[in-house]
């Protein structure tokens, strides 16, 4: 995270009024920053610095041409202010962590304190620590994983250390030409996690990106690849509930997941980027016979997020779930959801979306259920609930369905509601303040999703909602 941009584009880094967590340091002097902007030479230079094999260089260049040729998406959020030539596409690790903890504003420190975040982690989250110093924990986990044959390394490292496996899977789920922003990521990717779980291995503890020290894992264009071999299981956790600060205005990640026969993968994301960030992410999993893929996707931060974790159910009896939660305050637009493509018989899926908009915030659920002919006895349920907390907030629901098979059960339901004055009155008559009462109602609303989070995340999420709700009502 925290890619320093000494002269950020004012249009993009302008922190929306009311944003409490952001700051930037104009005094920062990075050491070896590439020039702003993107062209084929920059793409080649990134590949050269990383010492990559020729096929990856070629792949990056091919992706760059796709990026150039593609128009910006005309749907979703407002992306008109993104200037691709005003962005740094590569910053080396030594250039990072040059900010000082003293520069971190009081209010963001207070937020960390109130969330109960440990000292070392605070610095990491604030971008002032180059690494999250949890070495003891990390080394124990690493030793256990190695015994099991699990690979859990940075994606750059994986390309060098496991070249054949890397080449076999990279770009197979999300090809370079999938969409403009995936093409951009493929051209300039750096960082991210590479995970391989051998057949029959169950990774008991959730793997968390910030346990993997010395590697950029919440970068601007990270690339994550997870392969769960037959009968294995793993839970990967990305991001954190606490606000994460970056001066980079564009975050465009690609996550590819392969869930082989009988395997199970859960991928949990909680993003709380500072409110200057365009968070445009492509996440997709392919799930084979008898496998289970679950996305738990929480969107709290950013200026605009467009993210629709997808699951291609390619084998019989594969099951996919997307749990999506979005929270949009003033100046924010969370355009999130999920997609499930049923391409085999007896496949099942469940999408649950809970969104909350307050202030002038806007949440949009955007999703797709597609059933190909021959996917007999497929079942899918999509359930969207939206809570609107202020008069100026907005909520949209765009649930696409394409059903080309008769023998299926497909359903979608959505409700939109506001926190009722009667509910508030009741809780306040029991001695709660208005904001406490509203926070309690909101916590109840998102409970089905929070309970799916690892415990420390759930605790933080509830506290964070409480913080966000202060002053939201009345």
């Amino acid at each position: 995270m925290a890619l320093p941009t000494p002269t950020p584009n004012p249009a993009l880094t302008q922190v929306p009024a009311g944003y409490k967590y952001g700051w930037h340091d104009s005094e920062m002097k990075p050491l070896h920053v590439m020039k702003k902007g993107l062209n084929a030479a920059v793409v080649e230079e990134i590949s050269r610095i990383k010492g990559e094999p020729q096929w990856m260089t070629d792949n990056r260049l091919k992706a760059y041409r796709h990026f150039e040729a593609r128009p910006m998406p005309a749907w979703g959020g407002d992306m008109s202010e993104i200037d691709f030539q005003d962005i740094y596409y590569y910053v080396t690790a030594t250039d990072k962590a040059v900010q000082s903890w003293d520069d971190v504003p009081d209010y963001i420190r207070r937020t960390y304190d109130r969330l109960g975040i440990p000292e070392a982690e605070k610095k990491y989250l604030a971008g002032v620590g180059g690494q999250y110093d949890s070495e003891v924990v990390y080394h124990n986990i690493r030793a256990d994983l190695e015994k099991l044959g699990v690979i859990f390394v940075g994606t750059d490292e994986a390309l060098i250390k496991y070249p054949e496996m890397f080449k076999q899977y990279f770009g197979t789920v999300i090809p370079a030409n999938d969409n403009k922003l995936a093409a951009l990521n493929t051209a300039v990717w750096s960082g991210g996690s590479f995970i391989y779980v051998p057949p029959g291995v169950h990774v008991e503890l959730p793997l968390q990106a910030y346990f993997r020290i010395n590697t950029e894992n919440m970068g601007q264009f990270e690339r994550t690849l997870i392969i769960a071999d037959e009968g294995s299981s793993v839970h990967y956790v990305e991001g954190c509930t606490a606000p994460s600060y970056t001066t980079a205005s564009l975050h465009s990640a690609v996550v590819e997941i392969i869930v082989k026969k009988g395997a199970r993968v859960r991928y949990t994301t909680i993003q709380n980027w500072s409110h200057n960030v365009y968070n445009l992410v492509t996440k997709r999993a392919v799930a084979y016979e008898d496998s289970v893929m679950e996305w738990v996707d929480g969107n709290l931060g950013s200026h605009l997020t467009m993210k629709y974790p997808s699951i291609y159910l390619l084998g019989e009896r594969a099951h996919g779930e997307v749990l999506s939660i979005a929270f949009a305050g003033s100046g924010q637009h969370q355009d999130a959801g999920g997609k499930v493509i049923h391409a085999a018989p007896n496949t099942t899926s469940l999408i649950t979306s809970k969104s909350i908009s307050m202030g002038t915030g806007r949440t949009s659920y955007r999703g797709l259920i597609k059933v190909y002919p021959g996917s007999k006895r497929s079942k899918s349920t999509v359930r969207c609930d939206a809570l609107i907390l202020s008069d100026e907030a907005r909520s949209d629901t765009y649930p696409y369905m394409e059903i080309d098979e008769e023998d299926v059960t497909i359903g979608h339901e959505a409700t939109v509601s506001k926190v009722g004055s009667e509910q508030l009155f009741y809780l306040m008559s029991r001695g709660l303040t208005e904001s406490e009462a509203a926070a309690m109602i909101v916590n109840g609303f998102i409970e089905p999703i929070v309970k799916e989070l690892p415990m420390e995340y759930a605790v933080e999420m509830n506290r964070l909602i409480q913080l966000q709700m202060e002053g939201a009502v009345g």
Binding site: A74, D391, R394, Y398, Y400, I403, T409, G411, V416
Partner: protein
């Protein structure tokens, strides 16, 4: 009007080849007054100035107009017949007639509604203008304030040949606190590729109660590219039913404007499609005023390779407080090759809502229902018919008019089969 004149100046309808002088010739041949002549030419200009859908618009992504017979000649012999108006209602000022007849008899009454320049539904704006330029038939209904028409009024518009183009214009105006029920049928012969571009414009003034049912029985080669606009005034109650049975391709755009405080609309649809029929409906329930209620229920039964698409948008504007709205779209897939794309969209711009939601389903008949019906002695075919009929009954009964319910069910039987004895 002679067929000779038609051959001499064919009205080329495609935007590229469109010739406004043919519209002028059409008006002259019909002996229309100057204002109407000018109106048609104005509309022709607006038609040319309004772009066709490109196919990239959200509402046009699922149906291509590539096969639309744009060179079909204008059907100048299409007819509209009306019935059901009792003399008492006529005496109280109700005007119900084919459009041309109403124009001849009540030009001052018809003129403001026919020349109203409010654009049609945004998705079909160009076709709305084309219909106002090139109509040769249509229906006009005007109910004065505080007049109640008890009996169901009926209109039937029929194309004279399958391979022609017709753009009937329906105008329904219900004055304040009036009540009226209209069943309108549209038909054309089987066997040729025709273009049906009828438009329907319903205005329900303050406190009125309107039931409008449209029964579409076009021929098996017809392309229906049609639009409906319903404006619901304060405290008015409007129920519409669209029964889509015929045509090869239907692309219907429905716009319901909840324009007055306290208005209520109920939008019902039944679609029974087979063969390679494609029925694509886009709707918008635009909640502009406070305390409005708008509920939509569209049901489709799809046989053979038929395909339905429904893109319905509920938009709740910031100033529309205390509204209630719901969209429900259900699809029964009765063949392995049938398909459905139900897409109910919400855009809510205020938090002060009473209720807003939607539901969509697609799937085969519940096998437990089939099993149960068969244990009661029905064959599989009979059981399916009974279940499909029951499925439609919910919407058809909700129109609240027994003659309409009976007529629509009888028409649906052509697709779903007769009821088991």
């Amino acid at each position: 009007m002679t067929t000779g004149a038609q051959t001499a100046t064919p009205v080329r309808l495609s935007p590229a080849a469109f010739d406004p002088s043919a519209i002028a010739a059409l008006s002259s041949a019909r002996g229309e007054p100057d204002w109407l002549h000018a109106e048609r030419l104005t509309r022709a200009e607006r038609y040319q100035a309004t772009p066709w859908p490109t196919g990239s618009e959200e509402e046009w992504r699922r149906t291509s107009l590539a096969g639309l017979p744009i060179y079909a000649p204008l059907d100048e012999k299409a007819t509209t017949e009306v019935s059901g108006l009792d003399p008492d209602a006529a005496a109280r000022g109700v005007v119900f007639a084919p459009l041309a007849e109403a124009l001849a008899g009540h030009p001052d009454l018809v003129r403001p509604y026919l020349t109203d320049a409010t654009p049609g539904p945004a998705t079909h704006a160009t076709f709305w203008e084309l219909a106002r330029a090139a109509w040769t038939t249509g229906t006009f209904l005007y109910v004065p304030p505080r007049v109640t028409v008890e009996l169901v009024l009926r209109a039937r518009t029929v194309q004279s040949r399958a391979d022609a183009a017709a753009f009937p214009v329906t105008l329904v105006v219900a004055g304040e606190d009036s009540q009226v029920t209209l069943l309108e049928e549209f038909a054309s012969p089987d066997g040729g590729a025709g273009w049906f571009g009828g438009t329907v414009d319903v205005r329900a003034e303050r406190g009125s109660r309107v039931r409008y049912a449209s029964l579409q029985l076009l021929g098996d080669g017809a392309w229906r590219v049609s639009a409906q606009r319903v404006v619901v005034g304060a405290d008015a109650q409007v129920t519409t039913l669209n029964a889509e049975i015929g045509s090869r391709v239907t692309k219907l755009g429905v716009e319901v404007l909840m324009a007055g405080k306290g208005g209520t609309s109920k939008l019902l649809g039944v679609l029974a499609a087979g063969d390679d029929q494609k029925i694509d409906i886009n709707s918008i329930q635009d909640l502009l005023a406070s305390h409005t209620t708008s509920d939509l229920l569209y049901l489709s039964a799809l046989y053979d390779q038929a395909h339905s698409a429904f893109y319905g948008l509920t938009r709740v504007r910031p100033e529309a407080k205390q509204t209630s709205s719901y969209q429900e779209c259900r699809n029964l897939l009765l063949s392995p090759k049938a398909g459905a794309e139900p897409i109910p969209v919400l855009e809510i711009e205020t938090n002060d809502i009473l209720r807003c939601g939607h539901g969509a389903t697609a799937g085969a008949i519940d096998p437990i229902q089939m099993f149960y019906a068969q244990t009661r002695g029905l064959t599989a075919v009979e059981a399916e018919r009974m279940i499909v009929r029951g499925f439609f009954e919910r919407a058809v009964a909700d129109i609240g008019s027994e003659p309409i319910r009976a007529r629509v069910l009888a028409a649906l039987a052509a697709r779903i089969g007769q009821e088991a004895a």
